[in-house]
Symmetry: C2
Subunit: 388 residues, 2 copies
């Protein structure tokens, strides 16, 4: 499926720590745990890693620690180039793309991608202020805009344009909480009802508390290789951009960066959205999951609400979305999120996802990960395959 001149890239190991408010854990121990578990999963030593990417957004501000590439190379005992990349909440996705590029360059054969974030050592207000660095600080955050309010504007627009309802939004949250109950690493492991979701405390109309992903600590790591084979391949990893500020866009009924990244990813693999069996998408807010379904081409514009409400995105639906439980219920330790998505793909494709295992009928299976930064200024779409 990859272009013949390029080497196949295998996903040979993955691991995720517990996500949540982990007050007894620091940045360093979380990152190290994910890295060591991923090495164990790949049955390899740190000395086999040719290059390390570390995805993180807020360690400089929250922990006073920069230079995370060097920190984790040191901790994990990886004696190889190590690079910290950041693209707000898409840091993990962007780090996977950097590893993909380096493997395609032929300069490295086995790369670890580690995502980590420690967010609960600061107050909620400081966490919110930190996260607003993902938006345009000067032209959005300075005037009081927060992420719930940005996505609330997107949701209002979608409701007016397509008749999307609060029940459609709630259906995403209910499904993701249900899935997360079967994910031992999830931040939230409790079932919520449609009624609780719809009536949850208003944060920024129409978004209530249960439409928002939480502030979490956590880490995840994957290992990609052109040298060591595995049934799971990373077929492509495509990134696109849009304006940083929401007010600079012509249309906020969709995320243009997601659409463009998806187009490029499908083009690179000669696949269509219909070929994808399941996906992990960026549901920082419930409305973001609805947009993702439309922007990735799974349903037509305006159809995502009814599609989710009909149960098609449940574990046993025609297109399981966020079998892990998504950002909504697994949690959203920013730098770790994009890597956790890939780890979930591996667990599912290896049929080791336990109670939340999705059923995949065909022999050749395809899955997709979708990671967004800010209100859609950065999007990364990666496509993965499994050959039984």
């Amino acid at each position: 499926m990859t272009t013949s001149s390029f080497p196949a890239i295998y996903l040979i190991g993955s691991a995720t720590t517990k996500f949540g408010e982990l007050w007894d854990r620091d940045l360093r121990s979380l990152g190290l745990e994910a890295a060591q578990k991923a090495l164990l999963d790949a049955k390899m030593q740190a000395s086999h890693i040719d290059s390390l990417y570390v995805a993180n957004m807020l360690s400089s501000r929250f922990s006073g620690q920069d230079h995370l590439g060097a920190l984790f190379a040191d901790q994990i005992q990886i004696n190889a180039p190590s690079t910290h990349v950041e693209a707000a909440c898409a840091s993990g996705g962007v780090a996977i793309r950097q590893a993909w590029l380096e493997l395609l360059s032929g300069q490295s054969q086995t790369i670890m991608v580690l995502g980590v974030e420690k967010m609960t050592d600061v107050s909620s207000a400081e966490a919110s202020a930190g996260l607003s660095g993902a938006s345009d600080e000067e032209w959005e955050a300075y005037y009081g805009v927060t992420f719930p309010s940005l996505y609330a504007m997107i949701a209002q627009n979608h409701m007016q344009l397509y008749g999307t309802t609060k029940a459609h939004l709630a259906a995403c949250a209910v499904k993701n909480h249900f899935n997360a109950c079967m994910n031992p690493n999830a931040h939230f492991r409790r079932i919520i009802t449609m009624e609780t979701a719809i009536k949850s405390q208003s944060i920024a109309e129409p978004l209530g508390l249960l439409d928002c992903s939480p502030i979490s600590d956590g880490a995840a790591a994957i290992i990609l290789s052109t040298k060591i084979k595995s049934p799971i391949e990373l077929l492509t990893s495509q990134q696109s951009q849009d304006s940083l500020a929401l007010h600079d866009r012509q249309d906020i009924s969709s995320l243009a960066a997601t659409k463009k990244a998806a187009q490029k990813a499908f083009q690179a693999t000669n696949l269509t959205p219909q070929d994808i069996h399941f996906a992990e998408v960026h549901d920082c807010f419930t409305i973001a999951e609805l947009l993702a379904l439309e922007d990735l081409g799974f349903v037509s514009p305006g159809q995502s609400g009814p599609f989710v409400a009909s149960g098609h995105t449940k574990l046993d639906g025609q297109l399981p979305i966020n079998p892990s439980g998504g950002l909504k219920a697994v949690g959203h330790p920013v730098g770790a999120t994009g890597i956790k998505q890939a780890a979930e793909i591996r667990d599912q494709l290896l049929h080791r996802a336990g109670e939340r295992q999705v059923h995949i009928p065909s022999k050749k299976q395809f899955a997709l990960t979708h990671n967004v930064g800010g209100s859609g200024a950065t999007a990364v779409v990666s496509i993965w395959s499994h050959q039984t």
Copy 2:
């Protein structure tokens, strides 16, 4: 000189803003200025750029702005993937290596690498605290270690081991200030004498004020391409790591990361240190310039002091080092530093460096850039050539 299976990579444009305490300038305008000037220098439009890398260390902490890839893609009007990379003071060098990898992967043909830092909107104490994020926050900075003190320990060790003197250190500062007088973008443009340098206020013995690079604002940008030709080629860009904390190293008389990166760079290009005509090296402190001369293989261990004192590294010496004026006198806006080094290489190799032009005798000319993060946890060495 590049391996036959890889495309040649050309340095087709470059620009540097004024470096200094630029109180009337912000992060955004500095980055935009460097990017636009680099586009002008390359005679191209932003729409021709396939990918953008942004090197920056402290914007999250000092400006409340993360997601700099998206910010600058937006500002420059580059409609392409954009990625922020950070490796403390080696951020610029690491960003060049990422661009090099992406060009080798064949996924992009023309890439802009932008480095930018705005450091003077915070107090000196906050700037120092921010910079200490390049060291091990938990095991160094927390106990009061600052960068002058880390490099002072390295200098003490070098003095005891090799008889290096304060006059040797001062010779680096005097030369770099002299060169910077002829660099219109330099932070400091005044000649200093050996006496002033040796007697400057003690910061951390044996380092005085004039042994330290300043805290500066500034930006620099380069454009690399496999599609558009130029006489200047990036032959290789190699990165290496060492422990984050200085106390975790067996030997502090040299930086192992520099040695390893240099070894890899010379091996990749089939060159030796003797082939290099001039270099821009990482002189965050004068002792760092001495270490660089030894670690890059230009002189034997312990010989750097006498070598500099003999004038061999002056503009008209046998091996001009830091013709720009170095970090010491041009200034050190962290993310911009590694990119400014490459811009200086281009100015010199195109014989457009004005009064500070170095004389290059042979037809095929080679130059080297060397960028260090922290007290040597990250090092990047790139080699550039010019075919007349």
